[in-house]
Structure formats: structure tokens, C-alpha cells
Symmetry: C2
């Protein structure tokens, strides 16, 4: 799958996701829904939903059956962005090319819109389960909650905040990113595999793939914060250095960070070596994660 | 069941809940867990968990099978308190007799501890489901999420914030409280009934009971904010009037508010009229809700 094929593929999947997301939040509604919709529909790459869908397809199953999980992952990702952007946390004004939720609305609305998106994610998952295999959907809920909670994303965010100005070594930096970004990305592919009825060996392979692309994703993000174009990215660059954030470029340098990202992609590809051509989108996405410009 | 029996009953149930809650969050841990545990274990009446447990027992089932739902309800209630207390929302310094989460720790930690408790609630529910009837637990998850989300508690909080300084009529005040407090209280008894395998007519009766005690709870809360003893309540009183909050006493006066609360209790009792003596704790709790002093 070449870069142009992947572009078409990602666009089609993102549209599928966007249509389904919009269906959950009516257009004209109270302020809370307007705020939720504003942040949820602000664009973004939809990488977590796409990974979930593509994993199911890699296992020979129609990816649309994973949609509730795909949407829940995007809702949780969006909630985490809204809360991370708050004045008390990263105090960011721009996200996905638009004012952040608290800048566009106000702080209470942003806090509550984040809360409501997190809650809606679990409602969507639970309602999906009542139409499908209930036990599988309970596993999906448990693994997404575990990835997002105090042993996952939230703890990663805590470590990120407390590490500002301090110096982490590579192991601590990796641990932080595995928690903050890696676990939810890994949950995306894990859920796709669970819903598709993966065998144990397939599930293990997919989890390994997810672990490596999760780390690669963050290295690429850090690189983009140094070398990216703010016009294309829709957010400010150079902000990590300003805040003395712990990043791969700060620790390893640009060249070695780039090499490290490529090694992680190679490991991700190796993990799904036994999969047939239906896994080609997963392979292309792994490469895209480190080659993207936003 | 007399007041003293109820006191013993509530104490025993609260202890059961507290022990189980403590089991989910280890004592010595990263800051996020310390903050979660601080707010979760700060006391409180545990009224939602008790309602869930007591409903199952009213239907002749060992209440302990509802524990995961009972705990999840308390985690969600606690998260909502942490976020409501934030400087951007109610800016409260004292809760359950202790400094609020953001006063004791800091604002980022309080935001993230709330997020983590909300997430943990759903993890606990999903993991419980894998040991029990998966379809029932999915229903439990869906109904708790619906009660807590943008068509429930979060929207109630939005309305509460936007109504400060404005004047609501009785219908708007009731709608706000049904959303903010009522739906989660109702979910507590609904989940107890679902897990106990209630028949349709029993479920409807329990939901009606839950609706009325939910409203009564808020009327009593408003009354306590006027007439309560801050030493006993562990939080400031008179704050509603200071903020020109919409309350029942402000709208109906103290005497009529008290009468209204008693009428709601009578309706709650009527709803479960057909239940036998195993529902006596539910009956006593309905009365307690309007007679309590904290």
C-alpha cells in the first residue's frame, strides 16, 4: 500500500468515523453538547478509530462492527485533549487549528464537556454490547478503561506534569509515554482484535504491534514539535522546548530520535509479520505514524 | 425499622462499602492514587451504594452481589464532587469536613483524580460483568453512564452554573435537580434491581421510588444549606444564599419546602407499597433522606 493509497484509505475511514460520531451528538442542543461536538468534530487524524477498524479488517472482519469502540476511543482521546489544554494543566489556546474548548467556551464548560465525552464513551460501548457478544464488549470496556485510567493515560499525564523542568532518563521517558499515549493506542488495536474474535497468538501479535507504534507515535510527535509546520499541524510548535518538557529530541537529539522511531516501526512490522495482505493498512499506518507532518 | 435500627443498618452497609472501596486503591502509591483515595475515603454517607445494595435485598437477593455497581456509583459521585468543587466551578474549600481535593493537592491533580475515578468506575463495572451475567452488567453500565452524562448529571451541573443569579421557576428547578442529583440516585436503585433480576413491574416501582427520593434528597440538601450545622455537615452552610443559587427554600420558603419534601417521601413509599418487609430499609432510607442532619 503506497502513500497515495494510504491517504485515500485514511480519508475514507476518517469520514466513516466522523459521520458516526456526529450521529451521537445532535447539532442544535444545550451548550454542553455544542462544546462536546465542537471538540469532537474539530478534525484530527482519527488515528485511534482507524487503528481499531483496520485491525478488525486485518483479521478478515468488516471493520464497521468495531465502530462503537472506534468512536469511544476518539471520545476518550478528545476528552483527554480538552482537559490537558485547561489553564491548570498545559494552558493551550490552539488545538486542531481552532481555539481550545476552554478558549472557545469557558473553563467550567470545558471541564464538563470532557467529563461528558468520557462518560459517553462508556455508554456507547455498553449499548453496543447489548447488540453484540456481551462478554467481548465487557472485555473491550475493561481494556479501554484500564488504558485510560490511573494506571494508564491519567498517570502518564501526571508524570508529564510533574516532570516539567526536571530531567528524565530514556527509561522514565518511555514509561511516561507508554502510559500517556501508548496504552490507549494499544487499546485501539486490542479492541479491534477482540471484536474481530482474534486467536490468542493474533491478539499477542496485535498488542506488540500496538506497543511499538504507540512509542513511535510519541517520538514522532516530539519531533514534530521541533521540526513541524504550525500551519499544517494546527497547533503551536516549539512549545516543548519553551516548557523544558522531557522529549526524545531533547534527550537523544534529532538524528538519533528519528532513527529510534524507525526502529520502533520495524519492530511493529515484525510483530505482524505472519499476517497476510489484509494487514497491509496496519503496515502502512505504522510507517505513516513516523512520516506524518501533523 | 426505627431510627436506631436504621443507624446500625446504614453504618454496617457503609463499612462494607468502605472496605471494598479501599481494596481498589492501594495505600502507598503515586500522587494520583493518593488524591483519588483521599476524596473517595473522606467519609460521606455512601447513600448511593447503600440504595443499590438495599434495593437488591428488598428483592430477596444478597446485596453483596451489587457491590461493583455500588462502588462505581460512589466513585462517580466522588468524581463529580471533586470537579464541582474546582475553582472554575463552585470554588469550594471544604468537603466532607476536609479540604477539597484541589485545596489539599492542586488543581491539575484534582481534575485528573476526578477523571481517573470516573474511568475506574467503568473498569470496576466491566470487570464485575465478566464474572456475572454479562448482559445485565452491560445494562448497568449503560444506565449509570446515561445518568452521569450529558443528558444527566453533567447537564444538571451546566444548568446549575448558568442559573446562578438568575431566577428559575419550580419546573426548571426540578428539571435541573432531576438531572444533577436525581438521575444518579435513581440509577443506584435501578442497578440494584437489575442485578437482583427484578421483574418489569418491580423495576418500574423501584424507578418511581428512585425518582421521588432523588427529588426529596435535593430539597433536603437545600434545607440543610439554610438550617444545617456546619460542624455536623462538614461543609459550609448559607453558601447557596450567598451565591443567589436557585433553591427550594428560596422559591417556596422553608415551611413549604419541608412539606414538599415530606410529600415526595410519601410518594416514594407508595411506589414500593407492594414490596414486603424486606423493603423496610428502603422505606426507612426514604424517611432518613429528609430527616438527616448532614
Amino acid at each position: 500500500m503506497g502513500p497515495n493509497d494510504l491517504k485515500t484509505y485514511l480519508k475514507a475511514k476518517a469520514e466513516l468515523v466522523n459521520q458516526a460520531l456526529a450521529g451521537y451528538l445532535p447539532e442544535a442542543q444545550p451548550k454542553i453538547v455544542i462544546a462536546m461536538r465542537y471538540s469532537l468534530m474539530a478534525g484530527g487524524k482519527r488515528i485511534r478509530p482507524v487503528l481499531c477498524i483496520s485491525t478488525a479488517e486485518a483479521l478478515g472482519v468488516d471493520g464497521r462492527i468495531t465502530l462503537p469502540a472506534a468512536l469511544a476511543l476518539e471520545m476518550i482521546h478528545t476528552y483527554s485533549l480538552i482537559h490537558d489544554d485547561l489553564p491548570a494543566l498545559d494552558n493551550d489556546q490552539l488545538r486542531r487549528g481552532q481555539p481550545t474548548c476552554h478558549s472557545r467556551f469557558d473553563e467550567p464548560t470545558a471541564i464538563l464537556a470532557g467529563d461528558a465525552l468520557l462518560t459517553l464513551a462508556f455508554q456507547v460501548l455498553a449499548e453496543a454490547g447489548s447488540d453484540g457478544d456481551a462478554e467481548v464488549w465487557l472485555q473491550v470496556i475493561a481494556s479501554i478503561a484500564a488504558a485510560a485510567g490511573f494506571k494508564g493515560m491519567v498517570e502518564g499525564q501526571m508524570r508529564d506534569l510533574s516532570a516539567e523542568g526536571a530531567r528524565l532518563d530514556l527509561a522514565a521517558l518511555q514509561a511516561m509515554h507508554t502510559l500517556k499515549t501508548g496504552k490507549l493506542l494499544q487499546a485501539a488495536v486490542t479492541c479491534g482484535a477482540l471484536i474481530a474474535g482474534a486467536r490468542e497468538d493474533q491478539l499477542a501479535a496485535i498488542k506488540a504491534y500496538g506497543h511499538h507504534i504507540g512509542l513511535a507515535f510519541q517520538v514522532a510527535d516530539d519531533l514534530l514539535n521541533v521540526t513541524g509546520d504550525p500551519q499544517i499541524m494546527g497547533k503551536a510548535v516549539g512549545t516543548d522546548a519553551d516548557r523544558e518538557k522531557n522529549t526524545y529530541p531533547a534527550l537523544l537529539g534529532l538524528v538519533e530520535s528519528r532513527r529510534y522511531a524507525n526502529r520502533l516501526v520495524a519492530k511493529a512490522l515484525q510483530a505482524i509479520d505472519a499476517f497476510d495482505t489484509k494487514a497491509d493498512p496496519l503496515r502502512a499506518i505504522a510507517q505513516y505514524i513516523v512520516d506524518r507532518n501533523r
